[in-house]
């Protein structure tokens, strides 16, 4: 057990070391494009967004939940990229030829991605706070938001890693990634409440785990516990199913890739 922990720690620290070396990447990790969504999009649509429709004091406070979950989405789907590069340049082989538990490589990546995502979510909430968005459920609410983010992130990272192990070239990986992200964002309640979407879009959005996550995070920011709790309960169930499916698929892809 001690050895397992030693492996995971060493592998996770590798990602941390690398991040600290890539100064540019480090900067963009914290000041990420998602912030631009929040700041620009949020302010831009101030008047275009009808408060009656969004049921929120202003658009930016409505959008905040969407941007939080979008951050989780992007980070999660990109979570497998470094493993893809490791696979391509042979470093993964080197790791696999050592006597580590096979799962250490996967777990360390999960831990790293979840930690970075959580930090980014905090930055998003922090910036939103500067624009007057105060989470109505306080610190506990923020902790719950982080939990929801992590649960969603686990499944997404598993998908990403499964792709990393399965694609023949990394061009494929990035094509699929690009193809998935935007539809997932637009076919969710990130930008517009479900009730206000055209019928076919809100129908599709219901199948999107993002919608469930956003509809739980949003009341945590905008309303109170009694409104939020049922949604939180539902999203936990949705995420458990989602994660189980993704982890199962990911494990299969991993085992197949390992010959």
């Amino acid at each position: 057990m001690k050895e397992y922990w030693q492996e995971i720690r060493a592998l996770t620290m590798r990602w941390v070391l690398r991040l600290s070396r890539e100064k540019f990447s480090m900067l963009f990790t914290l000041v990420q494009p998602m912030l631009f969504w929040l700041i620009f999009f949020g302010n831009l649509f101030q008047r275009a967004a009808d408060s009656q429709v969004t049921q929120a004091p202003n658009y930016i406070s409505f959008l905040a939940a969407g941007v939080v979950v979008m951050t989780v989405l992007n980070n999660g789907l990109a979570g497998g990229v470094d493993l893809l590069f490791d696979k391509e340049n042979g470093f993964l082989e080197r790791l696999m030829s050592t006597p580590i538990h096979r799962s250490s490589v996967i777990l360390s990546r999960f831990i790293f991605v979840m930690t970075i995502t959580s930090l980014q979510v905090l930055v998003i909430l922090g910036v939103a706070f500067l624009f007057g968005v105060q989470p109505a459920t306080g610190l506990l609410g923020i902790a719950t938001i982080l939990l929801i983010g992590m649960m969603f992130g686990v499944g997404l990272t598993a998908i990403s890693m499964a792709m990393a192990f399965s694609v023949k070239s990394h061009g494929d990986f990035f094509s699929v990634l690009g193809f998935l992200s935007l539809p997932m964002i637009f076919l969710s309640s990130a930008l517009v409440p479900l009730a206000a979407m055209p019928g076919w879009m809100s129908f599709l959005a219901k199948f999107n785990p993002m919608t469930w996550a956003i509809d739980a995070v949003r009341p945590l920011i905008l309303s109170n516990w009694s409104e939020a709790l049922p949604h939180v309960g539902m999203v936990v169930v949705v995420m458990l199913v989602f994660d189980a499916l993704c982890l199962y698929g990911g494990a299969k892809a991993f085992r197949r890739a390992m010959g």
């Binding site: 590798r14 890539e22 340049n89 470093f91 082989e93 696999m96 050592t98």
Partner: protein, 322 residues
């Protein structure tokens, strides 16, 4: 003398995606020797190596490393082996030292032991001065040295090297050959794949020629060359039209063991040149073949390869890439 068996491969086969990479190969590696798998690209060398280092499971057959099965006892096998892959398997952002520290943790080495081993290895591969610079600043030769240091970190009983000098300059190649000889002197068993005949010839105690997924022959370089049964006289002819005539004229002769046509002439296997040369020249004169060059050599590994696979190793590589 009964030497201990380091590796035993028995009727190993591996196919994936409908392609048979390796078919029914068997060989043994003795403890403390340098064993080579010689063959062109696509021959199945890397696949065989990957099975031995537990990264692939065979489709059939088995392989053992010091008695441990590579599938059932994979974890224990990994404790005993070191691996130097063909590609530069390094992380550009980590320093040389950090690579070794990471691996030391993955091999569960205690901190003090790790520290001294890392210092020792950096000295061995002459990377001390660059140990704290990120690997992306390393030259190709330095990256390879780091690869080797990583492979040696666990002080393995068997070191597996996949094309150790591929793409390196002459000096680096010689340096690496020296390391490998030194490792053998320390008692390590070394298994390497290569497509370089000179490397196989100079370094390996024993080698297996592998082509098209099967082993053609196994033996020491000397045994394999002697096994060809004779020296080779190579004729380059001015015109090739009388070549087949000369070939048939020579074939029946007692001093001539075998004749093979090449693009520009004939390769003639002879027992003793003193008896064979006059016969060859006389036949060539009689048939009016003008001989441009005559070359005489003791068999080289090149000839061994041709004899057992029917083609030159360079030609085999070209065909595979197509």
């Amino acid at each position: 003398m009964d030497r201990a068996t380091a590796i035993d491969v028995s009727h190993l086969s591996k196919s994936y995606d409908g392609h048979q990479a390796v078919a029914d190969i068997s060989f043994t590696v003795h403890a403390g020797e340098i064993f080579g798998l010689l063959g062109p690209n696509g021959a199945g060398k890397s696949t065989t190596l990957r099975i031995l280092i537990t990264l692939l499971t065979p489709s059939s057959g088995r392989a053992t490393v010091f008695g441990l099965d590579t599938v059932r006892d994979a974890d224990r096998v990994r404790q005993l082996i070191g691996y130097v892959p063909q590609e530069r398997a390094i992380d550009r952002f980590l320093t040389g030292k950090e690579h070794l520290e990471l691996l030391a943790a993955l091999y569960h080495l205690p901190k003090d032991e790790a520290k001294s081993r890392i210092a020792e290895l950096l000295k061995l591969v002459e990377l001390e001065a660059h140990a704290d610079r990120p690997a992306k600043t390393y030259s190709g030769g330095m990256k390879r040295k780091l690869d080797i240091a990583c492979g040696l970190l666990p002080d393995p009983r068997v070191l597996f090297l996949d094309e150790p000098t591929l793409g390196l300059d002459v000096q680096s190649r010689l340096r690496i050959w020296d390391y490998i000889r030194m490792l053998k002197a320390r008692g390590m068993t070394v298994v390497m794949t290569t497509n370089y005949l000179d490397e196989a010839d100079q370094l390996c105690d024993r080698l297996a020629i592998i082509d098209g997924g099967t082993i053609k022959i196994i033996g020491s370089p000397v045994e394999l060359k002697v096994g060809l049964g004779g020296d080779i006289v190579s004729l380059t002819l001015k015109e090739t039209d009388r070549m087949t005539g000369l070939e048939s004229a020579l074939k029946g002769q007692p001093a001539i063991k075998a004749v093979r046509t090449t693009a520009k002439g004939l390769d003639i296997r002879v027992e003793s040149p003193e008896k064979a040369l006059p016969v060859i020249l006389e036949s060539a004169n009689r048939l009016g073949c003008s001989v441009e060059f005559i070359q005489y050599n003791r068999p080289r590994l090149d000839d061994v390869f041709i004899a057992h696979t029917g083609r030159r190793i360079e030609d085999a590589a070209v065909n595979h890439d197509e």
